[in-house]
């Protein structure tokens, strides 16, 4: 069973730039911003103009909500009360599968995994799931590992074997 987050201790306040994104998660859609002029995509939707062409003519792209773990941390000490019962938990930066652009630009998002930290590894595929909160207007995205791949990189294993060759 995934460890629960006590959403009653968290209040999300959408704003002008983000309210449609939160409307998206409420409908179980994982959106990223997309420029209507040049097609560039970005996350989070806090930024109201295109980082490539500076256009403010912007919309949304509905992703499939699938990606690969690019990096992660294991939080063992809760700072936000909602997570007191969740530690240890994994926050991952996830590179979305369907947002790669021709010039190599990628879109990465972040979120909490439902999986144990021993399961987490850079390179693993994940997909989004949605969790209801006490606020009917706010649905929180969360991520779960969907498979194992050869060469996935786990921190504890890396430390135990004394590091390894460069991967980049």
């Amino acid at each position: 069973m995934p460890k629960t987050i006590d959403y009653s201790k968290l209040r999300i306040i959408p704003d002008f730039d983000t309210q449609e994104w939160w409307e998206g998660t409420r409908q179980h859609k994982y959106l990223v911003r997309r420029c209507n002029q040049c097609g560039h995509k970005w996350f989070p939707p806090l930024f109201p103009a295109c980082g490539k062409c500076a256009s403010m003519d912007i919309g949304w792209f509905e992703t499939a909500g699938k990606g690969v773990i690019h990096s992660y941390v294991v939080v063992t000490q809760p700072i936000v009360g909602a997570f007191i019962g969740t530690v240890p938990y994994v926050v991952a930066v996830i590179e979305l599968d369907d947002c790669k652009e021709a010039d190599g630009t990628v879109t990465r998002v972040a979120g909490v995994l439902t999986d144990e930290d021993s399961e987490a590894a850079i390179g693993l595929p994940v997909e989004v799931i949605y969790e209801a909160t006490n606020d009917p207007k706010i649905v929180m995205p969360r991520w779960r590992i969907t498979g194992r791949v050869a060469g996935a990189w786990n921190f504890d294993e890396h430390e135990a074997r004394g590091g390894g060759s460069r991967n980049s």
Partner: protein, 409 residues
């Protein structure tokens, strides 16, 4: 060399003790730090006519400090900022001095960084009972990812993956800076540690252990900047501002995590300008300071500022290279990891003291520049301290640098 190189100087430094808790206002602490900096320089309140500070909505203002101390200012400004702000305020002071807006400028930071507002939003008693997420926090608080340790940890983890080095490289930084703190009577943590001590310390957020994380303290610190001509009349040998860069940003600064390489940080964009302005190369640098909010942040700044190649800092720092009497001593006061936490200004202060040859250590004659260089006896003054490269950053997205030179340079 730049047109302004060596034309302006740091002439006074001062700070309160690192306290937890201070049980004082940020105004009271700032007045103490500014007074000590004036006394250090041999300046009176009537000599000061510019004052700037940086803060995070957590501190007093220049106007309050000036009013308290009877200083009539021709210029004052308080900016929002944490790490990398001191060096930016020094750059800003050079512009004000050059243009004639002020003649002697104080820059300060005052923060109850432990007993008041803590980084990442943690309240003094522990976790935030009910958190409200608006603005940027909509996209981190909801996933329990708020503190600098949690945020930097993401880049650090990818760094370990990409480079193949382990957290033993982080340990080298903790050991070096703690050793320097052991030679600094002002430091909070003075017991030397080993790499194994680091490896045994408890996790805060993997890949960071407790000994990877800086102190949180209540403190104020101040420096005074003026012209070379004025500096020669003052109490100490002047320390010359040779070059730098100030709050240089990466692309996509507000959201680091879609950049091609997470650990390619802002310093990469600045160091050639700083070194060009100063007319120096890396081999001219006798010692460094490196913003050590975490051990990892020091590691990555060495790469960003060209002291070693990308991915090689782990190898570079092995064997105590950053320790006093080795090739590239770093953070000689103990830094944020072991001395205390001032959002960077303390690094500049220590560098000034080293360049004056007046590190305030256990040597009885330190105030006259008389040192034994006996580390067992608590001397932390470098024998050769002519050029220092001070590196600072906010998040990965923002960085500053200040190259300083002593009178022998």
């Amino acid at each position: 060399m730049g047109a302004l190189t060596d034309k302006y100087c740091i002439v006074g430094v001062g700070e309160t003790p690192h306290m937890r808790p201070s049980n004082r206002t940020t105004l009271s602490m700032a007045c103490e730090a500014v007074s000590k900096a004036m006394a250090d320089a041999g300046l009176k309140p009537s000599d000061i006519d510019g004052m700037t500070s940086y803060q995070a909505g957590d501190s007093t203002t220049s106007a309050h400090v000036a009013t308290s101390l009877g200083i009539r200012l021709n210029y004052c400004l308080d900016i929002l900022g944490g790490g990398s702000s001191t060096e930016a305020l020094v750059a800003h002071a050079i512009g004000l001095l050059e243009a004639g807006y002020a003649k002697v400028i104080v820059c300060f930071r005052s923060m109850n960084g432990r007993s008041g507002r803590r980084m990442g939003g943690q309240v003094p008693g522990g976790p935030i009972p009910v958190a409200t997420a608006e603005g940027d926090n909509q996209f981190n608080m909801g996933w329990g990812w708020t503190t600098p340790a949690q945020r930097f940890g993401m880049s650090a983890m990818r760094y370990l993956h990409d480079t193949g080095c382990t957290t033993r490289a982080f340990a080298e930084i903790a050991v070096a800076h703690r050793y320097h703190a052991s030679l600094n009577p002002k430091a909070r943590l003075r017991t030397p540690i080993t790499i194994e001590d680091h490896q045994r310390s408890r996790w805060v957020v993997k890949p960071f252990r407790l000994l990877d994380c800086c102190q949180e303290t209540d403190v104020s610190a101040a420096i005074i900047v003026t012209s070379r001509e004025r500096a020669y009349d003052l109490r100490h040998p002047p320390v010359f501002i040779k070059g730098g860069y100030a709050r240089t940003m990466t692309e996509n600064p507000g959201w680091n995590y879609s950049r091609p390489v997470l650990h390619y940080v802002a310093g990469n964009y600045g160091w050639k300008r700083a070194f060009g302005m100063a007319g120096i190369s890396h081999s001219d640098v006798d010692f460094i300071s490196c913003y050590d909010a975490f051990t990892f942040t020091t590691l990555i700044q060495l790469e960003a500022n060209g002291f070693c190649r990308p991915g090689e800092a782990g190898e570079f720092v092995k064997g105590g290279r950053l320790q006093i009497d080795h090739e590239l001593p770093s953070n000689l006061s103990g830094g944020h990891l072991s001395e205390g936490y001032t959002h960077g200004i303390q690094m500049v202060i220590e560098n000034v003291r080293q360049l004056r040859h007046r590190a305030d250590d256990a040597c009885p004659g330190w105030a006259e520049g008389k040192h034994t260089y006996d580390r067992q006896a608590g001397c932390r003054q470098l024998k050769r301290a002519r050029i220092c490269c001070g590196m600072a950053w906010g998040y990965e997205n923002m960085a500053s640098c200040l190259v300083l030179g002593g009178v022998m340079s």
